[in-house]
């Protein structure tokens, strides 16, 4: 049974001549209690996917096709009040920049408590306070009793992100937590702290975590399953070890090849890299979106025919015409991607 | 100029948006006819705006006098057209002066820290006063005349332009692209006028078009109070002041000049809005400035 089941999702923005498709026919499921990593570069549509699940696609964009099931509910057909009762309660989100996601003019206590006021109106004031402090303790915020009276600008980046996490979990019924680049704005040592916290909380609250990032290191260290997005499409989905051991899609392979790994590339030698740049929405090749940059392409099928996401090995989904023919992956055997 | 060069200039950021937008077109539609008629008034054979005709006082609009006549029998159409000249002269004159002094002192104030304190004090002390009150004070001091209106509008508006220019210079003085140019070894002068000032020019142009509108309003207000362009010159403000005793009997005397002011100011404000949107589409909905 899936917790979330996204079917054929399409999200568009109005363009100059025709609508720009930022998410293109995307199907993906999230299992209960798993950490699903969603990888992609800026502009690939991964944040838009998060916002589609939340029902917060910024105007003038809109979900033009597809269904998103949360349990039995199709979120896209739900009326606004029922969606709202899920948001911040059963589905929560944490955004990238902890500086801008907290309202600068309210104390953090007020902002966390607000979730309870909305979703658990029967709670007494003192109970709410207590729960807020308890959550802040759980997310590792030192001396929460004093902190609830502080404003966001008085806190460091790491603490702010912990506040955002407390805010996402305080409702107590969270089944899906979406974290959109939650550690990108943080320093390395703080990033490690926050990721560890995520893993702990995910176990403790027995929730699913959709972890969106561009950093394969974050994925390797935390995720159970990985989905790779490129130019609005899903190109590969697999278990984390399978994906890192045996990536089938040329884009995934290129990403893994081009990572600097201590000891694996000889120092100061050219690193394998993916040529070209990510196409902008509106300039995506007709067939495979990765066509222009691919080392395995052929000029017929790949140019004209869009590959479907198909299950090759067990629970390993790839959208590439040559998924079966591509040789096994070996770090540093970089014949397929040349500088 | 070759086609290629033209093509690339079109693509400049800011200017790339010279595709006319709706507000700019609307503003130009309101303003251009007015400006053209005003500029070519003497060729367009209007009546003499100053000739008094006791036999044709307070005539309602007719074929001979499309906008009617006033209490001295003067043709309101002719006076309106020549009034437009006054407004244009005041607006254009004061904005040219404002642009010159505003940019000059703004650049100095933004670039040299020692000058900043002095110029800042000066602009602050002018900006203490409610705008129109300062205009009255200055007009009282230097006497009513069209040229003096230009001066007092300039004094009122220059501090704001200085602030805008200064703010852009200060903002971009430490911008990364300026640091990058500095590391190349670009000198101060080129840094200021090639790298920084073009970024400030846009907002100043927008501000000047709003300032033009404001100058038209201030001129009308001052003239209405008898502190602006002295009668019998046909300023729109004068016309309204003269019409106040006849609001019961001759509606055309008051509605026409006031309507003209409204149209001109509306047109200028729309042009300002349009320019601002082209300059920075992100500001479109923000009504900044």
């Amino acid at each position: 049974m899936n917790l979330v089941d996204i079917r054929n999702l399409e999200v568009q923005f109005p363009g100059a001549t025709e609508p720009l498709t930022v998410i293109d026919d995307l199907s993906l499921n999230i299992l209960p209690g798993e950490i699903l990593g969603l990888v992609g570069e800026s502009g690939c549509g991964k944040s838009m996917l998060a916002r589609s699940i939340m029902g917060l696609v910024p105007s003038p964009g809109n979900v033009s096709k597809g269904q998103i099931f949360f349990g039995d509910l199709d979120l896209l057909t739900l009326d606004e009040p029922s969606r709202r009762s899920l948001r911040g309660n059963q589905i929560s989100i944490i955004l990238q920049e902890p500086m801008t996601t907290l309202n600068p003019v309210y104390t953090i206590g007020n902002q966390i408590e607000e979730v309870l006021k909305e979703h658990r109106p029967d709670m007494k004031r003192s109970e709410r306070r207590q729960l807020v402090i308890q959550l802040m303790k759980q997310t590792g915020i030192p001396s929460p009793e004093a902190r609830i009276h502080q404003y966001p600008h008085e806190l460091s980046g790491g603490i702010r992100q912990r506040v955002a996490i407390a805010m996402a979990l305080v409702g107590g019924k969270v089944q899906l937590l979406i974290a959109d680049e939650p550690t990108t704005a943080l320093d390395v040592t703080i990033q490690a702290q926050i990721l560890k916290l995520f893993v702990e909380l995910q176990k403790e609250h027995q929730m699913s975590l959709l972890l969106i990032t561009h950093d394969l290191g974050v994925i390797a260290q935390t995720a159970h399953r990985v989905a790779v997005m490129y130019a609005g499409r899903l190109v590969e989905v697999a278990h984390v070890e399978e994906l890192f051991d045996n990536p089938r899609h040329p884009y995934t392979r290129g990403l893994l090849h081009s990572l600097p790994r201590p000891g694996s590339h000889s120092r100061k030698q050219p690193m394998p890299s993916i040529p070209g740049t990510v196409p902008s929405p509106g300039a995506i090749p007709q067939g495979c979106a990765f066509y222009d940059r691919c080392g395995f392409r052929d000029d017929k099928q790949c140019l004209n025919e869009r590959p479907n996401l198909e299950e090759g090995a067990t629970e390993h989904w790839v959208s590439c015409h040559f998924a079966a023919e591509i040789p096994p992956f070996k770090v540093n055997s970089s014949d397929e991607v040349t500088p | 100029m070759s086609k290629k060069v033209f093509h690339t200039t079109l693509k400049r950021p800011g200017i790339r948006r010279w595709r006319l937008n709706g507000m700019l077109i609307a503003g130009l539609c309101l303003l251009l006819p007015l400006a053209v008629i005003a500029v070519f008034a003497s060729w367009l054979s209007f009546l003499d705006p100053l000739s008094i005709d006791a036999s044709s006082q307070l005539l309602p609009p007719s074929w001979n006098h499309p906008f009617g006549t006033d209490n001295f029998g003067r043709d309101v159409l002719a006076r309106t057209v020549y009034g437009a000249q006054v407004s244009l002269r005041v607006g254009l004159g004061s904005m040219l002066l404002t642009a010159f002094f505003g940019v000059f002192f703004g650049v100095i104030s933004g670039w040299y820290r020692w000058a900043d304190a002095i110029i800042g004090r000066f602009t602050d002390s002018l900006m203490i006063f409610p705008g129109f009150v300062l205009a009255i004070m200055i007009m009282a001091a230097i006497g009513p005349s069209e040229f003096n209106v230009i001066i007092s509008v300039t004094v009122l508006y220059v501090p704001q332009v200085i602030r805008t220019v200064r703010a852009s210079i200060v903002e971009f003085r430490s911008a990364e692209f300026v640091d990058a140019a500095r590391t190349i070894g670009v000198g101060d002068f080129r840094l200021l006028f090639v790298h920084i000032f073009p970024k400030a020019a846009g907002p100043v142009m927008v501000q000047l078009s709003f300032g033009f509108a404001w100058a038209v309003l201030v001129e009308a207000g001052l003239s209405f109070l008898g502190l602006g362009t002295p009668p019998p010159a046909p300023s729109w403000g004068n016309m309204i002041a003269e019409a106040r005793d006849f609001i019961r009997s001759a509606w055309w005397m008051i509605t026409i000049p006031g309507g003209m002011i409204t149209l001109a100011v509306l047109g200028l404000n729309l042009i300002g809005d349009g320019l601002r949107d082209m300059l920075d589409p992100r500001l479109k909905d923000r009504g900044v400035l």
């Binding site: 939340m54 917060l56 910024p58 009762s85 899920l86 948001r87 911040g88 929560s92 989100i93 955004l95 996601t101 907290l102 309202n103 600068p104 003019v105 309210y106 979730v115 909305e118 979703h119 404003y151 008085e154 955002a164 805010m167 | 004090r121 002390s125 002018l126 203490i128 409610p130 705008g131 129109f132 009150v133 205009a135 009255i136 004070m137 009282a140 001091a141 230097i142 006497g143 309003l217 009308a220 207000g221 209405f224 109070l225 008898g226 502190l227 309204i240 106040r244 019961r248 008051i254 000049p257 006031g258 002011i261 149209l263 100011v265 509306l266 404000n269 729309l270 909905d285 923000r286 009504g287």
Partner: protein
């Protein structure tokens, strides 16, 4: 906050001195001597002129005059009006309430109409209501207030005969007698201010509504009304309060003309008459008190700004 308030109030003193100094030097730039205005076209001998000059202290250097003048005005003595032949402060105080009623009422109207309309336009961005409010505010800002005043007189006083065309009665004559003579002036004065406040409110609301913490507030499941009124408005208020202060200063300037249109015996009318007659003492006193009101409102706005913005409140 207390410290901030204290410091802000203290910085008021130099501002007042700067204001007075500017007033002094601008009015004394006048090329024609005030005596010429005083004596008009009467044939007066040179000795008499000299006598009047020394009487008024005009025979001294400008700096000496300034050094005598400043301490006097700081103690509230602006001298005697040449025409009213009464203490300037006395005349100003008689007229002060009229101007205050006019500006305060139009400010209240502006806030009550402008801010809600601006908020409404911002949440209906790009829809008909937004365009309608844009047309309304653009027209309001383009119409000269004095002309609008006359249009209102033509409609409500001349044609419909609902309200008096001009004049003023103090509240002693009864509240309605007092109020009904203020309705049209307040309307004429407010429209441009409302236009400005609508636009700026809309602009700052839109600015704030694009922020991530608004997305976050929605993601918490808050209803849209709370997102707008709790999370967006308080942030936008910092900018809006600045605009309100600006509008007030604008309104004070505008009141000068409105008082002339509606024959209201306020400070503005006094200043205009003093300016035309070159009654310096009166002009200086009138302008100073009008500016003082603007400065006090400015101070209030700054404090409001600090109240809405914890960052300023805290760093003191």
């Amino acid at each position: 906050m207390v410290e901030y308030t204290l410091r802000r109030v203290l910085s008021f003193i130099p501002t007042i001195i700067i204001t007075l100094t500017s007033i002094f030097f601008i009015t004394r730039m006048i090329p024609g001597s005030p005596i010429a205005a005083l004596i008009g076209h009467q044939a007066v001998g040179a000795e008499q002129i000299e006598a009047i000059s020394s009487d008024l202290g005009l025979d001294k250097s400008l700096i000496d005059q300034y050094l005598e003048w400043l301490p006097a005005v700081l103690t509230g003595d602006f001298g005697t009006s040449l025409f009213y032949e009464d203490s300037v402060v006395q005349v100003v105080m008689d007229r002060f309430p009229v101007t205050l009623y006019l500006t305060v009422f139009s400010m209240i109207l502006t806030i009550l109409v402008g801010i809600p309309l601006g908020i409404y336009a911002s949440i209906r961005r790009g829809r008909i209501a937004d365009y309608a409010s844009n047309v309304f505010s653009s027209l309001g800002m383009a119409m000269p207030s004095f002309w609008l005043g006359f249009l209102l007189i033509i409609l409500f006083a001349v044609t419909l005969d609902w309200l008096p065309a001009s004049g003023y009665r103090s509240p002693d004559f009864g509240i309605w007698e007092w109020l009904k003579r203020l309705i049209l002036p307040v309307l004429a004065q407010s429209l441009a201010q409302i236009g400005l406040v609508v636009r700026m409110t809309r602009a700052s609301m839109i600015d704030v509504l694009d922020q991530e913490y608004i997305t976050m507030a929605r993601a918490k499941g808050l209803p849209e009304s709370r997102v707008v009124l709790k999370h967006a408005l308080k942030n936008a208020m910092t900018q809006i309060s600045t605009v309100v202060g600006l509008t007030f200063a604008l309104g004070l300037g505008g009141s000068v003309i409105i008082e002339n249109v509606f024959a209201l015996p306020g400070l503005g009318q006094l200043i205009t008459i003093a300016a035309v007659r070159r009654d310096y003492a009166m002009l200086e006193g009138g302008i100073f008190y009008l500016t003082l009101v603007a400065l006090i409102v400015n101070l209030a706005v700054d404090l409001a700004y600090a109240y809405f913005n914890p960052r300023i409140r805290h760093t003191g």
